[in-house]
């Protein structure tokens, strides 16, 4: 079992969700986050004054998957999120020790969904 964490551009969320749906990966958690990569954020101008180094808005997806689903999930995220420009984001894959469904107490493969 793996936990896949992806940091993507907010405006690509719709595309990523559609790609995931196509691969029948429906269970996910989505949060708004701030962050910056190598481009060190953007500068915004307020009333003519430059404010440097603002963190960028990103969206973070967390998806717990069985091993067979790791590659399809990664492919779907890349297909949906890639624009080719800087700031497209990253995918992290972490080993996951256990997964428990709160309602039934089921664990492991079944609980993932």
């Amino acid at each position: 079992m793996k936990l896949i964490i992806a940091i993507i551009q907010p405006h690509k969320l719709d595309d990523v969700m559609r790609e995931l749906d196509e691969k029948e990966i429906h269970l996910k958690t989505v949060t708004n986050v701030l962050g910056c990569g190598r481009q060190k954020g953007v500068t915004e101008v307020y009333r003519g004054v430059k404010e440097a180094g603002t963190l960028l808005k990103k969206v973070r997806l967390e998806i717990g998957v069985n091993d067979a689903y790791v590659q399809p999930t990664v492919d779907a995220i890349i297909k949906g999120a890639r624009t080719g420009g800087i700031g497209d984001g990253k995918i992290f894959i972490l080993p996951m020790e256990e997964c428990i469904r709160i309602r039934s107490g089921e664990t492991g493969k079944v609980a993932i969904g």
Partner: protein, 413 residues
């Protein structure tokens, strides 16, 4: 020499400020709440900027084209350019008891809100630069002539006897019909109708609707251009029809969608305000209840059924509410008008004068045809020269960031 009446002047001054409030913050909040978080600033900016833009256009040439000396019953000439000859003395052709300049600035606020209503149709995808040029050209070539037809001295619909108390045809039909044309020319937002982008802040929308309601007392009761019986009658009708339409919409929602929605109440109220606008100075309070209920049903069908079926992206229902509601209002004015209420008006079909309905129907037809044709040409030409839409990527990122380099909300701080 006509005398200036201080009561009339005070009321129209206050009404002018009330109508300003309808555009910003009223409409800005109403529309701003209905778009996604990434577009709220750009949407509010469109209303706010029009307040600035049309204020200047109106002083320079707009007022002269709409209300200046008549040319062929179609448009005013430019002899009042820059308010040349528009003085502080009353002009009995328009309002005998208030300064002419007060009439001018009261009318200015109508000219401001009309293009602002259109912004609901191209929300979330129009290029700001094209929007500015479009609005300026539209105000000059569509609004100013239609205002002249209906309200200008010797305008042809005015001479024909079309009844439009506060601007159902001039403001709501012209903007609503043009809104549909622009929405069709520029196309749908990406993803629509597969996904309908959700409103991001319904509290803004409800506050905006309430401010529109409040400001509308200036719009309708102010259109009496005096503090008298007629303004009181228009005030009461405005409130009555709005309440009836909001209740009507909520009940339909409750039956068909199983829940009485907040957006339904807000939309119903605005539809009621739109429909009572042309009728407000000519009908009884009981007729106002009927008008409110009728417009709720018709606009509901336009917004919830027809729009879904035809899948045009009139994003914030500028056509569905203002175009359709304005048409309903103009037609029912020809049904419910009563001379007992306003001796300067006429009886409608329900009070033994079918001719009035016919005249109002002619006004409706003329405004539809003219708005469609001229708006289509303006939109097409600007699309070729400047491009109406932002790039697909910019639309996805949002107009706040791509058009104004700002964002409305922060995540932290």
């Amino acid at each position: 020499m006509p005398q200036i009446n201080s009561g009339d002047t005070a009321w129209v001054l206050a009404s002018t400020a009330l109508v300003l409030l309808m555009t910003a913050p009223g409409l800005a909040l109403f529309y701003g709440g209905l778009v996604r978080r990434k577009n709220v600033l750009s949407t509010m900016m469109q209303s706010f900027f029009l307040l600035c833009l049309i204020s200047i256009q109106w002083i320079l040439w707009g007022y002269s084209l709409a209300f200046g000396p008549d040319v062929g019953h179609f448009i005013g000439n430019l002899s009042w350019f820059g308010l040349n000859g528009v003085t502080l003395a009353p002009n009995p052709d328009y309002a005998a008891t208030i300064p002419h300049q007060l009439f001018m600035i009261f009318q200015m606020m109508f000219a401001v809100i009309t293009p602002a209503l259109i912004t609901g149709a191209f929300a979330e995808r129009i290029k700001f630069s094209t929007f500015v040029v479009f609005s300026l050209v539209w105000a000059t070539l569509v609004y100013d002539p239609i205002a002249h037809w209906v309200w200008g001295k010797d305008g042809w619909l005015h001479n024909l006897g079309a009844l439009d108390f506060a601007g159902g045809t001039v403001v709501h039909m012209a903007s609503g019909i043009s809104a549909l044309v622009v929405a069709l020319v520029m196309g749908r937002r990406s993803g629509f109708p597969r996904v309908t982008p959700p409103p991001h802040n319904m509290t803004y929308t409800l506050v905006g609707a309430a401010l529109l309601w409040f400001g509308w007392f200036g719009f309708n009761a102010g259109s009496a251009l005096a503090a008298n019986e007629l303004s009181v009658s228009a005030f009461i009708n405005t409130n009555t029809a709005t309440a009836a339409a909001a209740i009507g919409w909520v009940v339909i929602d409750w039956i068909l969608a199983r829940k009485p929605t907040v957006l339904g109440a807000a939309t119903g109220a605005v539809a009621g305000l739109v429909a009572i606008t042309p009728a407000s100075g000519f009908v009884s309070p009981i007729s106002s209840i009927w008008i409110g209920l009728i417009v709720a049903v018709v606009c509901y069908i336009a917004v919830a059924v027809v729009k879904q079926k035809l899948a045009y992206d009139d994003s914030l229902d500028a056509f569905g509410v203002h175009g359709v509601g304005g048409t309903v209002g103009a037609l029912v004015t020809g049904l419910f008008a009563q001379k007992v209420i306003n001796s300067g008006g006429a009886d409608g079909l329900f009070f033994g004068n079918p001719h009035q309905f016919l005249v109002n129907a002619i006004a409706v037809g003329a405004v539809i045809v003219y708005s469609v044709v001229v708006t289509f040409i303006i939109a097409k030409v600007l699309d070729l020269i400047m491009g109406l839409r932002v790039k697909e990527q910019d639309e996805a990122i949002g107009l706040d960031n791509t058009q104004h380099k700002e964002s409305a909300y922060t995540l932290i701080d």
